[in-house]
């Protein structure tokens, strides 16, 4: 295939180095196609060019990948948010149900330990009797708290001590 050949053509060589002829001066010389000059590139140059093009392609690919990654990330996060919203909604509903159940069970418990049932069970099953008044000792606390302090040694004057003997 011709595309795989390594010869190059220097197009500059096909152009005349002289200044362009004025239009009013007819060109009498017959037109002959200049012979293209084939330049042979070194392998190193070719590798460098290939590297550069690969680098460009890689850069483009990376940018595209980042772009698509960000889009995917955005979509994924949205999906996650939606999922978490759904879970939150579900948990909130569960909390409501559990709170209702808690209320219902508390009410059931209260009804089981109502005073009439406790009274009935205590008297008829356990054989307990109500406390009698005289079994209760009442303590009068209306006087408030009182503090008794131990007295220290009384300092008496000589005259008071003498007076005590009379």
């Amino acid at each position: 295939m011709a595309y795989n050949r390594t010869e190059a053509v220097d197009m500059r060589r096909m152009q005349s180095s002289a200044a362009p002829a004025r239009r009013n001066i007819p060109n009498t010389r017959p037109r002959t196609a200049p012979k293209p000059q084939v330049l042979q590139k070194t392998k190193r140059q070719l590798r460098a060019e290939e590297f550069r093009s690969t680098k460009k392609a890689t850069k483009a690919l990376i940018v595209c990948s980042i772009f698509f990654f960000l889009i995917a990330l955005q979509i994924y996060s949205q999906v996650q948010v939606d999922e978490l919203d759904r879970q939150l909604d579900s948990i909130n509903q569960q909390i409501e149900v559990v709170e209702s159940e808690n209320t219902r069970l508390n009410m059931e418990l209260d009804s089981i330990i109502s005073l009439d049932k406790v009274d009935d069970y205590a008297q008829n099953v356990l054989g307990m009797v109500k406390v009698e008044n005289y079994q209760v000792s009442y303590i009068d606390l209306s006087g408030g708290d009182a503090i008794t302090q131990s007295g220290g040694k009384i300092q008496r004057s000589l005259w008071e001590t003498i007076k005590m003997y009379f």
Binding site: D85, D89, T103, R104, S111, L115, V129, E132, Y134, Y138
Partner: protein, 746 residues
């Protein structure tokens, strides 16, 4: 083409362009105007409904607590179960659904099946206020059957729980659909208890799933305020149980009672019996159902009048919801004599020691009034007249006061106005219908009014008036809601006790207090006597002439302790039919039971007299491990009777156990061998004197605990804690209730 033609073409092109633009932009503009202005609201709603989720957050109804923050009523989420009969294709589906729903929801199969046959309906409610477990069972059943998703559905609902069922039901009331209060406090404080509904508006995505919180607006639901009542659960229980027993023992139509805090006017307990279960208010109580069944069923069990029966059930339902302590009124009878006495003493027209002569009758204008004791009480002082509930003396006091002054006190004590208690449907005194106004208060009417006849008052009016005597003459505004709390428990409102007016002086109140205490210690209210406590009160017996000749309301109203009143108590037994009908015989013992329990609960120290101390029961000593001889000697020395079971020499078990209390000649059973307890049959201990009841009990190997009035003559037992015929362990203590028969209409 000529220039003229060119211009013509150009002009046409411009016109065509203009028309095109006009039509194009005009259509666009029209569309904008149509969508934005003409039908803007419609499209706005459509867009909102498509893009927004608007969820209503229902506010929970406030909780009702008693004075000690025990929950009396509380709401929780529940569900409605509905069906879409139009989607049911065949009878097999209907049968299947009806069978399963009836089983899960505890409903009548036929009723559910009937609902399933309403093919023209797309929504038929099967049951409301369904609890979580039942709802889940229904959903499980639905998920197990293909196509049932479109037939069975659930909806949010709310259920109100009353943990103690019929406890204070006439006060609390109940709620209906949507948790709306329909009766009692639930109705009166409906606006306070009902919260404000909240909303969550959220954007929805393409799949109609709610989007994150950044796209939502939340308007929080505001829970209703909680009510803290002045009702005390324990005192309410004492009142409820005493009234329930009284209604049964006296075969009465109703029993109602109130306990009021003397100083504040707060209602500590309020009860009407028979009542209803707040959780199931539409079910008529068993007593009424039995009466209706007897009335509308023939001997073969066929219903004689279905329409009448349905009407009677409806009436019974309405009747059981009534809080008769505030909605009903009756002639207070002799209880009102306290007001007449208060007016007389305050105005100085009578003194406690003034002597009167009761001849058994008293003439006013052309009318002759008789004393309940037809022969007359003879010479007696004013206090004794009060103790004897002597009508002529009180007519005399009223005549001395004169109409204007008498009416002034009648009005001052609150008999011409409703009390204004915070409960619905309080009966309002109707001028010249339920009482006589001053301009129509003739001498005859005043004479009748002076001893509590020819006018009516509600129980709440009566106790409020008597409470004023206990409270140094200050008439209080009764109230039942002590405070309102927000959802965090902060008090947002607190009721302040309100003194309406000073109706009598403190001195007069104290004098009356002593007189009323004498009524209990030795007068017509003997049955309200409680050993160790000073109880003051007055009994009343009034005839319900509008109902029948021998139909009565027996009542007692008083307070305790008389020397430092803490509580006022009113007991009324409506239409007692078991023989006794006087306030002293029927209501007095109930009041004693309630007062004794409340005094113990309030830690009021009893002060026994020597006589009372001598009558107190004694504690059984521990004799297990002793020899039989020693045990017998020890127990008999303290007055007990000993019965020995077994042939051993040592006591291995005793009954009653050590520490229990018995009457002085009570039976203690000693077992000398490890054997099963000996059983005895409880005899009928009613209708006996104290001594006879004790003897019968001892001869049966049982003990009695005496409750009620046991002093003086004409004492008889009227109730026992263990039914006769029951087998119990030898030595068991049976509580026997005694009362003295008060035959005079007091």
């Amino acid at each position: 083409m000529s220039k003229q033609q060119k211009n013509k073409f150009k002009n046409r092109a411009i016109i065509a362009l203009f028309i095109t633009c006009f039509l194009g932009f005009g259509a666009g503009a029209f569309g904008l105007v149509n969508v934005g202005i003409v039908n803007g609201e419609k499209y706005k709603l459509k867009a909102e409904s498509q893009q927004l989720s608007d969820t209503t957050v229902s506010a929970l109804r406030g909780t009702i607590y008693d004075a000690n923050m025990n929950v009396l009523a509380q709401s929780a989420d529940a569900w409605k179960i509905w069906i879409n009969p139009s989607k049911m294709k065949d009878d097999e589906t209907r049968q299947d659904i009806a069978t399963e729903l009836a089983a899960i929801l505890d409903l009548d199969f036929e009723e559910v099946l009937e609902k399933c046959h309403k093919e023209d309906r797309a929504y038929v409610l099967i049951k409301s206020q369904v609890e979580y477990e039942d709802k889940e069972a229904v959903l499980k059943f639905r998920s197990e059957h293909k196509g049932y998703n479109q037939i069975i559905g659930t909806e949010d609902d709310v259920k109100r729980y009353y943990p103690f069922g019929s406890f204070a039901s006439s006060v609390l009331g109940f709620t209906g659909s949507g948790d709306v209060g329909l009766s009692g406090l639930e109705y009166y404080y409906n606006d306070t208890l009902t919260g404000t509904t909240g909303r969550i508006i959220t954007a929805k995505n393409a799949k109609q799933v709610k989007m994150s919180s950044e796209y939502s607006a939340y308007f929080a639901a505001k829970t209703g305020l909680n009510l803290q009542l002045t009702i005390d659960q324990v005192m309410q229980y004492y009142l409820d149980s005493a009234l329930q027993s009284a209604v049964e023992v006296n075969d009465a139509s109703y029993g109602y009672g109130i306990i009021m805090d003397v100083e504040t006017g707060a209602i500590l307990a309020m009860s009407t019996k028979p009542d209803f279960d707040c959780n199931d208010p539409y079910t008529v109580n068993s007593v009424a159902l039995t009466e209706i069944a007897e009335q509308f069923t023939d001997e073969e069990g066929n219903i004689t009048d279905e329409e009448g029966r349905v009407q009677a059930i409806g009436d019974a339902r309405n009747a059981q919801w009534r809080n008769r302590t505030i909605t009903d009124s009756y002639e207070p009878g002799s209880v009102f004599k306290c007001v007449t006495a208060a007016a007389g003493l305050e105005e100085g027209v009578v003194t406690t020691g003034e002597m009167f002569n009761c001849t058994g009758s008293y003439e006013v204008a052309d009318r002759t009034y008789h004393c309940s004791h037809r022969a007359g009480h003879g010479v007696e002082d004013f206090t004794t007249a009060m103790m004897n509930s002597c009508n002529p003396i009180f007519i005399e006091v009223a005549q001395r006061l004169g109409k204007t002054t008498f009416y002034k006190y009648f009005e001052a004590f609150g008999f011409a106005e409703p009390t204004g208690i915070d409960l619905p449907a309080e009966s309002k005194p109707a001028a010249n219908v339920t009482y006589h106004t001053l301009d129509r208060l003739t001498s005859v009417a005043m004479a009748s009014t002076s001893f509590g006849q020819t006018f009516q008052a509600s129980p709440i009016q009566i106790i409020t008036a008597i409470n004023a005597i206990a409270n140094d003459g200050k008439l209080m505004q009764p109230y039942i809601v002590g405070a309102m709390l927000d959802s965090d428990g902060n008090k947002v409102f607190e009721t302040t006790p309100t003194v309406k007016r000073q109706v009598i002086s403190k001195d007069t109140a104290n004098t009356l207090n002593i007189m009323m205490e004498r009524v209990v210690s030795g007068g017509t209210a003997k049955n309200a006597y409680v050993p160790g406590y000073r109880v003051a009160g007055k009994t009343g017996t009034s005839q319900k002439l509008t109902v029948g000749e021998n139909i009565y309301v027996a009542s007692f109203c008083g307070f305790a302790p008389a020397d430092n009143p803490k509580i006022s108590v009113l007991i009324a037994i409506d239409e007692p039919k078991a023989g006794s009908f006087t306030g002293g015989s029927v209501a007095g013992p109930v009041a004693a039971e309630v007062i004794e329990n409340c005094m113990k609960y309030l830690n009021v120290e009893p002060q026994y007299t020597d006589d009372e101390l001598a009558r107190l029961d004694q504690k059984v000593a521990k004799v297990t491990g002793s020899t039989v001889v020693m045990a017998q000697k020890e127990l008999e020395s303290t007055g007990f009777t000993v019965k020995v079971i077994g042939k051993g020499n040592e006591v291995v078990k005793q009954f009653p156990q050590a520490g229990k209390t018995l009457a002085k000649n009570g039976v203690v059973v000693l077992y000398t061998e490890d054997m099963d307890p000996t059983l005895v049959t409880v005899p009928d201990l009613t209708g006996l004197s104290v001594a006879d009841a004790n003897n019968v009990a001892i001869s049966s190997g049982l003990n009695i605990k005496r409750v009620g009035y046991t002093k003086g003559a004409n004492i008889a037992s009227y109730r026992q804690s263990v039914e006769s015929g029951t087998d119990v362990q030898m030595g068991t203590v049976v509580t026997v209730y005694f009362r003295t028969e008060i035959k005079e209409e007091d």
